[in-house]
C-alpha cells in the first residue's frame, strides 16, 4: 500500500560490493507481520513491548497533556482517538465515533458509538469530548496542545481569553453526539485536524486544570478507552497492562501487555533472547548486523519525516508575525542553492551511512503521504560537473586562486553551516556535506567549528542568528499534508524565512474549498512541490524508514496500527506462551 517507488534506482548505485555492504530498501520490508509458519494463535498470553529510548519515559499519560514521544507510545495501548484514519491520515468512519461534515455551515457532527466505555465502565460521552476542549482551551492549561487546531473553532479564543464561559462553537447535541463549528473550514480538518481525544469528565471534573497534568489520573492510574487497561506503572521504566474485556471493538486476544523502556544499546540482545517481542522502533544503524536474526521479523514503514538543508533567506518580523525576505542574503541566489543541491550525493549517503534505510529525498512532501508525494518530480541529482557549471555561469568564480569561489562581486564567500549534534551519524554527515561543497569550490564552515547542541541549534536558527547561512534540519510532517505550518509566510517555523506570492497562493489553494476534492488538492501540492524544487528555499536530503522488529510468535501486528491496515491492537495475538529466542 505504501509508496516509496523512488528507491527503485537504488540498485544501480554502486558497483559490485553490494552483497557485503548490505544495502536495503524500504521495499524489502512488510508493514504487516506475516504468518509464514502457520502456527495457530493461542488464547491469551502476555506481549512484551520494548519502548526504545535512552531516557526514562516522562509519564504524562494522557493525550491531552503529554509532550514527548515515549509517552504517546504508552498511551496508545490504553487509550485511543475517537476517530480512525486511513493511510493518508484522513478520517474514516471506522473509529469509536463516526462523523458528518457540513461544508456549508463549516461544522462537523460526531456520534460516539454506544458501546464505547471508559475502563471504569462509564460510557464515553459527548460531554467527555467537549471536556477535553474545555481543558485544553482553559487559561490554566499547562500543556502545549492549544494551537491552530483549536483556535479555528468558533468561540474558542473568547473562551481561552476568559471572555466566555463556554465554547460557543461546540455543542453537545445529546449524550453521544457532539457538533463542532469552525471559523475556517479547511480540508485539513478531515486529515487528522480534529482533536479527537476525550477525557473522562466524571473523573477529572473536580480537579483544577492547573493540577491535572500532575494528578494521579495522569501519572499513575490513567483511565482510557483503549483495548488494554493500565495495571501497574514503575515510573519511567515500565507499565503493565491487562486486557479491557469491555473494549468496544471486541475483547482483546491477549491477556495483557508488558511495556518496558529498553535502551537502544540493549535492544538487540533483548530481542534475541526473547525478553521483548516487539519494539516501537528498531535503531536502523543496528539493522545490518542483525538482519538475519532468526526469531524476529523486521517490518518497516516510511517515516513521516525528512531531513533537509535550509538556506537562510530572510528574517522573522515579530511585530507582523511574518517572514521578511532579504534580497541581499548570502544565499539569495537560487543558482547557488541549486549547485549546492547538485553537489551532494544523498543516494550514497543513504546507502552507506544508513544501509539504504534512508534514501535520497526529492520533494518536501515525503512518501509517507503516498497520495500527495509526487514522485515524478525531477529534483536536482548528484552531479558535480553540473554544479560547477551552474556556479561558473552564475558568476561564482575563484578569482583569488585559493581554491574557493568568490561571490559574483569578487568578495570572499564563506558559508556558515549549522548542524546539530546528537544522533548517530550527525558528525560525519555534516562533515560529508562540507566536503561535498568543498569539492565544488565552496568554502563552507561549521558555525563555531562544532556541531550545535539541539537546543542551542534551534534557539539560534529560530532567532535568525546572522552567523548561520545554511543549516541542516529535520521536520516531522504532520498527519495533514498541508505544509503551511513550515513554509507559510506567517509560520514561525518557517526557518528559511522564504516567502513568495506564488507560494502563498499555492498553500492557500491547498486549504481552499475546492481542495475538499482530493485530486484537486493533489494537483495543488504537486505544483507546490515542484515550485519548491525550483526555488529551493530548502532542499530535502533524506527520507527515512521506520523499522520495527517483531518476534515470530506475534500475530496481527502492523507497523502503524492507525494507518489503515484494518488490523487493530485488540487483535494482537501470540502463538505460544513464551517468546522464541534466537538460535
Amino acid at each position: 500500500a505504501c509508496g516509496g517507488g523512488e528507491t527503485g534506482e537504488d540498485d544501480n548505485g554502486n558497483q559490485a560490493t553490494e552483497e557485503e555492504d548490505r544495502i536495503y530498501t524500504i521495499d524489502d520490508f512488510n508493514q504487516v507481520k506475516t504468518h509464514e509458519d502457520g502456527a495457530e494463535a493461542i488464547d491469551g498470553g502476555v506481549l512484551n513491548f520494548g519502548l526504545v529510548s535512552d531516557t526514562a519515559f516522562e509519564g504524562t499519560l494522557n493525550f491531552n497533556f503529554y509532550t514527548g514521544n515515549p509517552d504517546v507510545e504508552i498511551i496508545n495501548w490504553f487509550d485511543e482517538s475517537l476517530l480512525a484514519i486511513d493511510e493518508n491520515y484522513a478520517y474514516t468512519q471506522d473509529g469509536a465515533a463516526t462523523f458528518e461534515v457540513d461544508e456549508d455551515e463549516g461544522s462537523m457532527t460526531f456520534t460516539i458509538r454506544d458501546n464505547v466505555n471508559w475502563h471504569d465502565g462509564e460510557p464515553v460521552t459527548a460531554e467527555d469530548w467537549l471536556f477535553s476542549y474545555e481543558v485544553i482551551g482553559h487559561p490554566d492549561y499547562d500543556g502545549i496542545r492549544y494551537g491552530s487546531m483549536f483556535t479555528i473553532i468558533e468561540g474558542m479564543e473568547a473562551y481561552n481569553n476568559e471572555e466566555a464561559d463556554t465554547i460557543s462553537g461546540i455543542e453537545v447535541l445529546d449524550e453521544k453526539t457532539l457538533k463542532i463549528t469552525y471559523d475556517q473550514f479547511t480540508p485539513s480538518l478531515l486529515a487528522s485536524g480534529v482533536w479527537a481525544y476525550a477525557m473522562p469528565k466524571h473523573l477529572f471534573e473536580d480537579i483544577p486544570v492547573a493540577d491535572m497534568s500532575s494528578h494521579d489520573l495522569v501519572r499513575r492510574n490513567p483511565v482510557g478507552m483503549g483495548p488494554f487497561k493500565v495495571d501497574s506503572i514503575v515510573p519511567g521504566e515500565s507499565v503493565t497492562y491487562v486486557k479491557n474485556e469491555d473494549y468496544w471493538r471486541g475483547e482483546p486476544n491477549l491477556d495483557g501487555v508488558t511495556l518496558r523502556v529498553v535502551n537502544p544499546n540493549v535492544v538487540v540482545q533483548s530481542l534475541r533472547n526473547g525478553q521483548i517481542d516487539l519494539v516501537n522502533q528498531f535503531p536502523a544503524d543496528q539493522y545490518p548486523e542483525n538482519a538475519e536474526m532468526s526469531n524476529v521479523e523486521f517490518l518497516a514503514s516510511i517515516d513521516t519525516a525528512y531531513t533537509y538543508i535550509g538556506f537562510k533567506l530572510g528574517t522573522w518580523d515579530e511585530e507582523e508575525r511574518e517572514v521578511v525576505m532579504d534580497p541581499d542574503a548570502k544565499m539569495a541566489d537560487v543558482e547557488l542553492r541549486r549547485a549546492m543541491w547538485h553537489a551532494v550525493d544523498n543516494q550514497t549517503v543513504g546507502d552507506r551511512f544508513y544501509n539504504g534505510l534512508r534514501w535520497n529525498a526529492t520533494t518536501l512532501i515525503p512518501p509517507s503521504h503516498p497520495d500527495y508525494h509526487d514522485e515524478t518530480i525531477e529534483a536536482p541529482l548528484y552531479d558535480v560537473e553540473l554544479a560547477n557549471t551552474i556556479l561558473d555561469e552564475a558568476g561564482y568564480e575563484d578569482v583569488t586562486g585559493d581554491g574557493y569561489r568568490e561571490d559574483p562581486e569578487g568578495n570572499e564567500l564563506v558559508i556558515n553551516f549549522a548542524s546539530m549534534s546528537g544522533g548517530d551519524t550527525a558528525e560525519p554527515l555534516a562533515r560529508y556535506y562540507i566536503q561535498s561543497w568543498d569539492a565544488i569550490g565552496l568554502n563552507v564552515q561549521l558555525v563555531e567549528g562544532r556541531l550545535m547542541e539541539f537546543n542551542n541549534f534551534y534557539d539560534r536558527v529560530e532567532a535568525d542568528d546572522a552567523a548561520i547561512d545554511i543549516y541542516q534540519g529535520a521536520w516531522g510532517v504532520g498527519s495533514d499534508v498541508d505544509p503551511t505550518g513550515l513554509y507559510g509566510r506567517n509560520a514561525g517555523f518557517n526557518y528559511t524565512r522564504y516567502a513568495s506570492e506564488r507560494n502563498d497562493e499555492l498553500l492557500a489553494e491547498g486549504l481552499s474549498e475546492e481542495a475538499f476534492d482530493e485530486s484537486y488538492r493533489q494537483d495543488v501540492y504537486s505544483e507546490w512541490q515542484e515550485y519548491m524544487v525550483e526555488n529551493i528555499p530548502a532542499f530535502p536530503t533524506l527520507y527515512r524508514a521506520r523499522l520495527v522488529a517483531v518476534n515470530d510468535r506475534v500475530q496481527n501486528y502492523a507497523v502503524n496500527f492507525q494507518a489503515g491496515h484494518d488490523i487493530y491492537r485488540y487483535e494482537l495475538a501470540v502463538t505460544q506462551e513464551d517468546a522464541n529466542a534466537a538460535e
Binding site: T55, I144, V266, E453, N455, G476
Partner: protein, 321 residues
C-alpha cells in the same frame, strides 16, 4: 556534640546558598530551555511563547532566582519539571530512592571488598597475596569505571544473562512483596558491583598503607609486650586503629559515589539521579538540573559532616564534648 553539629550546619548554610546561586545561574546560562525542544508543526510557536511567559522564563534571572529559592525554602518546592510536568520534588523522590539503594549496596560491596583485601594486603605485605591484591588495585585504578561497567554489562548481562540489563525492578510486581524486593536487588547487583569493584581500589590501598603504618606504631609493641597473640594484636589493635580513617572517609565516599552513579546509571539504564541528571541536561529541564545538583551538593556537605561526626565518635582524641 550538638553544638558542633549546629556550628557545622551554620557554616554549611552560606555554602548551600552560594551553591544554589551558582547552580541556578549555570542553568540559566544553558542555551535553550525546556520549551525550545518542541519543534512540532502541529504546535503553534505562539503557544509555546505564551507558555514561556506564563512560566516566567522570560523574567530576569534574579527575579526567577528569588522566586525559586523562596519556593525551596518556604515549602520545599524545588520547582516544576518542564519535561515531566510534575513537581521536581516528586520526580526526584522516585529517583533518589533508586540512587539511594544503589549507593547503599555499592557502599556495602565497597567495604565488603575493601576490608578483607586491605587487611590481607596490609597484614601480609610484600607477600604473594599482597602482590596479587596490589596488582588488582593497580588494574582497578587504571580501568575507567565506564569501560568496566560496559564490559560487565555485556558479559554478565548479555552473554551470560545473569543479570537484568536495565531498569530498577521487573515490571508488574507489587511493591512491598518479597519478590519485588528480590527483583530490585537483582537489578542493583551488577551496577553496584561494577562501581564497587572499581571505586574500592582506593579504599583497599588506603587500608593497606594504614595497616602497614599502624603495624609500626609503638603501641602495637606494647600490646605484644603484654603477651597478646598475633591475631589479637591484629584484631584488637591494628585493625581498629586502621579502620578509623576509613570510617572517617565514609562521608566522603558518598560524594565520590555521586560521580560514579552518573556513569553506572547511564550504562545500566538505571533510573536514578545520575541518569536523571544527564537526561535533564540534554533536555534542558533545568529546574531538575538545578535541583539535582543542589541536592547532591547538600548530600556532599552532609557527607562531610557525617565524616566529621563519625570521626569524632570513634576517635577519642577529637571527641567533641
Amino acid at each position: 556534640m550538638w553544638k558542633f553539629i549546629v556550628r557545622r550546619l551554620l557554616i554549611a548554610l552560606p555554602q548551600i546558598l552560594l551553591l544554589s546561586v551558582l547552580v541556578f545561574l549555570m542553568a540559566q546560562m544553558m542555551p535553550g530551555d525546556a520549551l525550545s525542544g518542541l519543534i512540532d508543526p502541529n504546535i503553534d510557536p505562539a503557544a509555546i511563547e505564551a507558555q514561556r511567559e506564563r512560566l516566567g522564563l522570560n523574567d530576569p534571572w534574579h527575579i526567577q532566582y528569588v522566586d525559586w529559592i523562596t519556593g525551596v525554602v518556604t515549602e520545599g518546592d524545588l520547582g516544576r519539571s518542564f519535561r515531566y510536568k510534575m513537581d521536581v520534588t516528586e520526580i526526584i523522590g522516585q529517583r533518589l530512592t533508586n540512587t539511594f539503594w544503589l549507593s547503599l549496596v555499592t557502599l556495602i560491596f565497597t567495604y565488603l571488598i575493601a576490608i578483607p583485601l586491605g587487611i590481607t594486603s596490609g597484614r601480609y605485605n610484600d607477600t604473594f597475596r599482597d602482590q596479587m591484591i596490589t596488582g588488582y588495585t593497580y588494574v582497578g585504578f587504571a580501568t575507567p569505571l565506564f569501560i568496566f561497567a560496559l564490559v560487565a554489562l555485556w558479559i554478565l548481562g548479555f552473554q551470560f544473562g545473569w543479570f537484568p540489563t536495565g531498569g530498577s525492578v521487573s515490571p508488574g510486581l507489587t511493591p512491598g512483596t518479597f519478590e519485588y524486593f528480590l527483583s530490585r536487588l537483582h537489578h542493583l547487583i551488577l551496577p553496584a558491583l561494577s562501581m564497587a569493584l572499581i571505586t574500592t581500589v582506593n579504599t583497599v590501598q588506603y587500608l593497606r598503607s594504614e595497616i602497614i603504618d599502624t603495624k609500626q606504631k609503638d603501641f602495637i609493641i606494647t600490646a605484644r609486650a603484654k603477651g597478646a597473640s598475633e591475631s589479637r594484636v591484629y584484631n584488637r589493635h591494628i585493625l581498629r586503629n586502621s579502620l578509623l580513617p576509613i570510617a572517617a572517609f565514609f562521608g566522603f565516599e558518598i560524594t565520590g559515589l555521586i560521580g560514579g552513579t552518573i556513569f553506572v546509571e547511564t550504562i545500566y539504564s538505571y533510573p536514578g539521579m545520575g541518569q536523571l541528571f544527564v537526561e535533564s541536561i540534554n533536555l534542558r529541564d533545568y529546574s531538575v538540573v538545578t535541583a539535582v545538583v543542589l541536592l547532591l551538593g547538600i548530600a556532599s556537605i552532609l557527607g562531610a559532616l557525617l565524616s566529621d561526626i563519625i570521626l569524632s565518635l570513634v576517635d577519642p582524641r577529637i571527641r567533641i564534648k
